[in-house]
């Protein structure tokens, strides 16, 4: 309950004002609460139904209902042909998925976590991402790579890496990083319908979190365009940019800062590549201050790229202070809870950085 209430407050919407727009006789807009997990499940279900070329493969996706239950019920509904359990052979099954995409199918290739995608990264980059260019348009690869990315809880160093920066580096790939349920459903559907390789970086800690799904988002044709960021909260004092789980942290920080009169504009990147720098620039030209927040390591990360792009564009002249990056600590992820908690950005770190950036 607390979680959903928090989500509702974060969304910046006001039920009262929403109601006022409607006729007195009509009922309130039928928004429902849906977890990210269910949103992803719904997205895949709808796309599997819509296009018979779509299929899902990965470890435990079929009979186990998904390692994190994201594909629950799909095997029962669609059977062995469309939902395929693979052996533990990332390089092999990723290559198989890419080959199937080249030959006319539309695979969704699930990695149990993106840490394991490292074993298959050659197939993702060299066989999928680069092929359309190398063939000068003769061979397209309509494939989706999805799975949980970044830190979880207590899974330690080998299972906690954030791959946004690595995949975001490569031309030929699209990379999306949803935060809430609407993001998850809309971006995954767009990814499946896209003719290109798309990496969908989910977050395990968000799977069980319910968010409001608008009526529009409940539609079978609801998609979110890849390459467009969303302003989650309007503000004038400072711009906060984040992706995935840290969008939530930024909204929490914004709620606290609002009590002190600091109004943060929170931008949910939604897409890492191609990045919507324009939205960030427009915001910075209004607020004059920028803080980026991410879970990944600082060096060569998302924040680093945003800094460089802001400097190269028109927004630089509007900055009243250098851009601040809030990132994960530059260490492999430790196990002990107290250490893990201090390895990732907390709400208080964001608040601290905002105040430092504003020189308060």
């Amino acid at each position: 309950m607390a979680a959903s209430l928090r989500c509702f407050l974060r969304s910046g919407k006001n039920t009262v004002s929403a109601l006022q727009l409607r006729d007195f006789h009509r009922s309130a807009p039928a928004a429902v609460q849906m977890t990210v997990r269910d949103a992803l499940n719904q997205a895949m279900d709808e796309e599997l139904e819509r296009d018979e070329r779509v299929f899902l493969l990965g470890e435990e996706v079929a009979q186990y209902d998904g390692a994190y239950k994201v594909s629950r019920g799909l095997w029962k509904k669609y059977g062995d042909k469309r939902i395929i359990d693979t052996p533990i052979s990332e390089m092999g099954f990723t290559g198989i998925a890419v080959g199937a995409a080249m030959a006319g199918l539309r695979p969704i290739c699930e990695f149990m976590t993106f840490n394991f995608s490292m074993q298959a990264i050659d197939q993702i980059i060299n066989s999928a991402a680069k092929t359309y260019y190398m063939s000068a348009g003769l061979q397209s690869v309509p494939i989706v790579f999805r799975g949980p990315n970044g830190a979880s809880a207590g899974v330690a160093a080998q299972h906690s890496q954030c791959f946004a920066a690595w995949y975001g580096h490569c031309p030929g790939l699209k990379v999306v990083s949803p935060w809430n349920s609407e993001d998850a459903k809309g971006l995954l559907k767009s990814a499946i319908r896209d003719e290109n390789p798309v990496v969908v970086l989910e977050n395990e800690l968000l799977y069980g979190v319910p968010f409001e799904m608008s009526e529009e988002a409940q539609s079978k044709d609801f998609t979110i365009p890849i390459g467009k960021a969303k302003i989650e909260r309007q503000g004038n004092s400072i711009t906060l940019v984040a992706h995935s789980r840290y969008v939530g942290h930024c909204l929490d920080a914004a709620a606290v800062l609002a009590k002190e009169g600091i109004e943060c504009e929170v931008i949910n990147l939604r897409t890492i590549r191609p990045m919507d720098v324009e939205s960030i620039e427009t915001s910075v030209m209004k607020t004059n201050h920028l803080v980026t927040v991410e879970g990944g390591w600082p060096q060569f990360g998302i924040g680093a790229e945003i800094c460089a792009r802001i400097m190269e564009g028109p927004a630089f002249n509007y900055l009243d202070s250098p851009v601040t990056r809030v990132t994960g600590v530059d260490i492999p992820m430790p196990y002990a809870k107290i250490l893990e908690d201090h390895s990732l950005p907390q709400v208080k770190d964001i608040i601290f950085s905002v105040k430092k950036t504003l020189n308060i």
Binding site: I96, G99, A101, S127, Y132, Y133, S135, A136, G137, L138
Partner: protein
């Protein structure tokens, strides 16, 4: 004849300081024959038959009625150049040849040990192999002239593999290979012109100059892959698509003896067998993975057995008929829903690993020479057809001349076609995408990309 060859060979040796093998000498004679007139009376009215046509062969299948002039060659009328040919009825339209028995792994029966060859097929295989041969030799030449740059892995010596496989599958089947791909690019339907222009990096190349030697594509041909072994899971995936789409197609997935030790192959074998994918895994064993001989790279060099639970065949890859029969057998196996199968083609490459490898530091010239003289796939086919009276020497010569002309014309195009325009630098990043902006080398350089 032998003495003449020896004389010419010795002369070449003296001139070049290098051994001139039988192949070189015969090529020289073929080249010279363009300028040597076959003198004869030109008048069509009086056709002199050299000899009576032989009795029609038992399996006469030729329905061609037209008899062609038969003209005798005389030395006393220089200047007149006439096509010499014999009546079609003279040639054996079809013959059966013994082929080497394949070694079997987990198979009760293998491909047949006899192969039938019609005259038309023989000439077509000859033409295909000779085209690939000449195209590769031209690529060698262009590379040495620095007109082709980067990687160039030549296929000469292995022509029987590409030609034999293509003869046994349908154009609607699928094929994927590694970087030694020019031969397959041709057999899968790309013209010599487009291949050479891709090698020279011109806009008329099959990939508009953006791919190069290792990245050429065609319908149902998936390249051309640069990462050793990566094409094998891709091929299994294409086979999955074949199975999924239910069109009774198979995927031929090729790799070399070097790639045979990659882990992802074994992952692919496992899944292909589990799911009974219609995938023909073919190992082109040319005895060397770059500079490492098979004995130094593999604990087991029985590549046809390396699939363990997958049945396998070891095939003489220098004999186009053997390759064809084995591929036919393998394709039937897959189409019957029995799952994947492995073929090992024992073959040989005359060139080094690539153009930067002379190819003689890890093997002897004598070895190369021996394969050339005893097992050359093109010579083997030609001798078979000649000895069975399926075609004439002159016919082959004509084909050679035609091919030479074709390759020359392709070279002309490949060396004169302009390079791709700079405006297209960033195109083809994404498929079916609205145009996007791409960062150039500096922040002020904003380039445009269209699909």
């Amino acid at each position: 004849m032998k003495t003449m060859l020896a004389i010419i060979s010795n002369a070449l040796c003296r001139m070049t300081g290098r051994n001139a093998g039988a192949q070189t000498v015969s090529e020289l004679l073929t080249d010279l024959s363009e300028f040597v007139d076959l003198t004869s009376p030109a008048a069509p009215a009086s056709a002199q038959t050299q000899r009576l046509p032989p009795k029609p062969p038992p399996t006469a299948v030729s329905t061609r009625a037209a008899a062609v002039l038969l003209v005798s060659g005389c030395a006393d009328r220089p200047g007149a150049r006439v096509v010499v040919s014999r009546s079609f009825a003279d040639f054996t339209p079809q013959a059966t040849f013994d082929i080497k028995k394949c070694d079997l792994h987990r198979l009760e029966e293998g491909p047949p040990v006899k192969a039938e060859l019609t005259r038309e097929q023989g000439l077509q295989y000859y033409r295909t192999m000779q085209t690939v041969r000449r195209m590769e030799l031209k690529a060698d030449q262009l590379y040495k002239q620095k007109i082709i740059r980067g990687f160039c892995h030549l296929y000469d010596g292995q022509e029987a593999c590409a030609a034999g496989i293509e003869a046994a599958i349908n154009p609607s089947d699928h094929l994927i290979t590694a970087y030694r791909a020019h031969g397959y690019t041709y057999t899968r339907g790309v013209s010599v012109k487009e291949i050479l222009a891709e090698l020279t990096g011109r806009r008329g190349g099959v990939a508009k100059g953006k791919g190069g030697s290792m990245h050429m594509y065609a319908p149902h041909f998936y390249g051309g892959n640069g990462i050793v072994g990566a094409q094998v899971p891709l091929g299994a995936g294409i086979a999955l698509a074949c199975q999924y789409q239910g069109k009774n197609q198979v995927c031929v997935t090729l790799y070399g003896d070097g790639a045979a030790n990659q882990g992802q192959l074994f992952e692919s074998y496992n899944m292909a067998a589990l799911w009974k994918l219609p995938c023909i895994f073919i190992c082109e064993n040319n005895k060397y993975g770059m500079g490492t001989s098979v004995e130094r790279a593999a604990a087991s060099t029985d590549y046809y057995k390396r699939g363990d639970f997958i049945p396998g065949l070891r095939v003489d890859g220098m004999d186009v008929l053997c390759v064809r029969e084995a591929t036919q057998f393998a394709a039937d196996h897959c189409r019957a829903g029995k799952g994947p199968i492995i073929m090992e083609l024992q073959t040989y490459r005359y060139h080094g690993h690539s153009m930067s490898d002379p190819g003689v530091s890890y093997r002897t010239r004598e070895e190369i020479q021996e394969v050339r003289s005893k097992s050359d796939p093109i010579s083997m086919l030609k001798e078979r057809m000649l000895s069975h009276n399926m075609a004439s020497v002159e016919e082959f010569k004509e084909i050679d001349i035609e091919i030479r002309k074709q390759v020359e014309e392709a070279t002309q195009f490949a060396t004169s076609d302009p390079e791709p325009p700079l405006e297209e630098l960033c195109n083809h990043i994404f498929s079916k995408n609205p145009p996007l902006e791409v960062r150039g080398t500096s922040p002020w350089s904003k380039l445009k990309s269209v699909s």
